[in-house]
């Protein structure tokens, strides 16, 4: 993992920690900040992919997947901006949905890692199951705003701790010379 990537994980983890406390203490304000954090992260990632596509990846065999990935992430980020003006309930659905999708992706990656006998598939799978679990429970209790808020805060806490752990974790390198 690159040093910049570690710094990104550490900073995002540190920002997320007080945010989950804020979501429980002042759900309205915490929700606004959580949404803003998600929007900015998605937009930054989307733009990063687009810049990379136009600078380099457009010449690569199969490089168009970088373009699609960038557009999808950017679109999701821009969509999230509109959620400030709609009832909080819709925004929560989006945030929990994002958590569910993110968890599902982790589960798929974990399963793929298991199939390919890659190390650390257990932790990746567990992390994905945790995230998707919070998301699923959230969808079953859409009527209880308080419960949704707590679930969402727990999801954020899970993400914050994971990011900080990833930032300091040694990464395995397979290099064949």
């Amino acid at each position: 993992m690159t040093r910049a990537r570690r710094i990104y994980y550490f900073i995002s983890g540190v920002i997320l920690l007080p945010l989950c406390v804020l979501v429980v203490i002042d759900p309205k304000l915490g929700y606004q900040y959580a949404l803003l954090f998600l929007e900015l992260a998605l937009i930054f990632h989307g733009l990063k992919h687009l810049v990379y596509f136009f600078a380099l990846a457009r010449y690569k065999t199969g490089g168009v997947e970088v373009l699609f990935k960038g557009l999808l992430i950017l679109d999701a980020g821009l969509f999230a901006f509109d959620l400030h003006d709609v009832p909080r309930w819709y925004g929560m659905i989006f945030l929990i949905g994002a958590m569910l999708v993110s968890g599902a992706i982790d589960i798929m990656q974990g399963a793929q890692a298991m199939k390919m006998q890659s190390g650390h598939w257990k932790s990746q799978l567990a992390y994905g199951v945790g995230k998707a679990g919070f998301g699923l429970v959230g969808f079953f209790f859409l009527n209880s705003m308080r419960l949704l808020t707590v679930l969402f805060a727990l999801g954020l806490l899970n993400m914050a701790v994971s990011h900080i752990i990833i930032a300091f974790k040694k990464t395995d390198i397979v290099y064949i010379q």
């Binding site: 690159t2 040093r3 910049a4 990537r5 990379y52 600078a55 380099l56 990846a57 010449y59 690569k60 065999t61 199969g62 490089g63 997947e65 970088v66 990935k69 890692a113 390919m116 006998q117 890659s118 190390g119 040694k170 990464t171 395995d172 390198i173 397979v174 290099y175 064949i176 010379q177």
Partner: protein, 390 residues
């Protein structure tokens, strides 16, 4: 390539080029050491760290991939394992960022190869061994670049082209990412690096995405390189490795003569032809490493027992030498030759207008501004110049 070719086959080639058995051993040792002379190894002997010719997995894991980190990685891998084929390659409608990476793709018979072999003329058998490692790797590692780049080094669509009684069978190559899983030839199951769409991830360095396929002499396969505009390339390792062997014999004859200039695309097939069938049988034998077969050939050629590679063989000699005399030991001469090679390749890349390997200045016009470790090379060059004058 692996120890079988870098150590044992180089030993055979050196003998066919006319070297004495003791020199063959030193050349082969130097050729193999290129794959093991990491920062960790050099630290053990308090040698010049700029002379590293490889990076260990653990060193790469912590290697920063910011601009200077990439330059450091590129200097090592492009100089010793993925010698660029054409630093001035041209492709239409490509921007500079892309072309800087594209021009670092390793290929055979580039002008840098001639520069490498001709540079080794000044450095004795240690430099000769380093040059033979680089030459051999141009055949094995061609089509991949010695810099982390997703848009160059990613690859897919791997199929083995296996010769059977019914003709050539096209078998899909299965990859896993578990470094402790052994490659399985019969099941066509191999280990490779994870796909990472981050441009500078070390997973995208060299032929990591192709696993060890380029390093197996028996393997013939097709694949789609990321830079190839959807074209499918066929890599015929047995044929390439044989060409590498013949070119090594020719290159070492040039170095041994001391006068003959090395020219690219020239192979000493005449000297090797009496052993062609034997060599091709080793190269085509389906095995993960061919140490024993090459060793047997080496012993048969020279009539002398060939000892296995021992990494610390010359360590004591270097450690026990007094300051000022270390450069006369095997390791000292190896370090100087490695510094000279790295310096030359970095300079050529820089002069082609490509900054991926970092800045390089000509000492003759700008004085000394480089890394402290390179003073060792400078001192040796000065001594060499004085020796020449006397």
């Amino acid at each position: 390539m692996q120890e079988d070719f870098h150590y044992y086959a180089t030993y055979c080639a050196a003998w066919l080029a006319g070297y004495e058995v003791s020199d063959c051993s030193r050349i082969a040792y130097a050729a193999q050491l290129v794959d093991l002379c990491s920062k960790t190894f050099i630290n053990r002997f308090h040698g010049p760290r700029a002379a590293t010719t490889t990076q260990l997995k653990t060193e790469l894991a912590d290697a920063p991939t910011d601009i200077t980190g990439i330059q450091d990685i590129t200097r090592v891998w492009a100089s010793f394992h993925f010698l660029p084929g054409n630093l001035y390659a041209h492709l239409p409608k490509r921007n500079r960022y892309y072309m800087n990476r594209y021009r670092l793709i390793c290929d055979v018979n580039g002008t840098l190869l001639a520069d490498t072999v001709n540079l080794a003329r000044k450095g004795g058998v240690e430099a000769c061994g380093i040059a033979m490692h680089i030459l051999a790797d141009t055949w094995a590692h061609r089509y991949f670049a010695g810099t982390p780049s997703f848009v160059i080094n990613d690859a897919g669509g791997f199929y083995e082209l296996r010769e059977t009684e019914n003709g050539v069978e096209r078998i899909k190559v299965n990859f896993n990412h578990n470094p402790i899983t052994a490659d399985n030839i019969e099941k066509c199951s191999f280990t490779n690096c994870l796909k990472q769409d981050s441009e500078t991830s070390v997973m995208n360095l060299g032929h990591g995405r192709a696993g060890s396929l380029p390093d197996y002499s028996f393997f013939k396969y097709e694949f789609q390189p990321a830079w190839g505009d959807y074209r499918i390339l066929v890599k015929d390792n047995p044929s390439d490795y044989y060409r590498a062997f013949c070119q090594m014999v020719y290159a070492m004859k040039c170095l041994r003569s001391g006068e003959q200039e090395f020219e690219t695309d020239t192979y000493d097939e005449e000297t090797v032809s009496p052993y062609r069938e034997e060599i091709m049988a080793i190269l085509k034998k389906r095995q993960l490493i061919a140490n024993e077969d090459w060793k047997a050939l080496g012993e048969k050629l020279t009539g002398t027992a060939l000892e296995d590679f021992d990494l610390l063989k010359y360590g004591d000699e270097y450690m026990e030498a007094e300051k000022g005399h270390k450069e006369k030991t095997f390791l000292g001469r190896f370090f100087v030759a490695a510094l000279a090679q790295k310096s030359m390749v970095t300079n050529k890349i820089f002069r082609s207008g490509n900054l991926i390997a970092g800045f390089s200045i000509d000492y003759g016009t700008n004085g000394f501004r480089g890394i402290e470790d390179f003073r060792m090379l400078l001192e040796e060059m000065k001594k060499g110049a004085m020796d020449d004058q006397s």
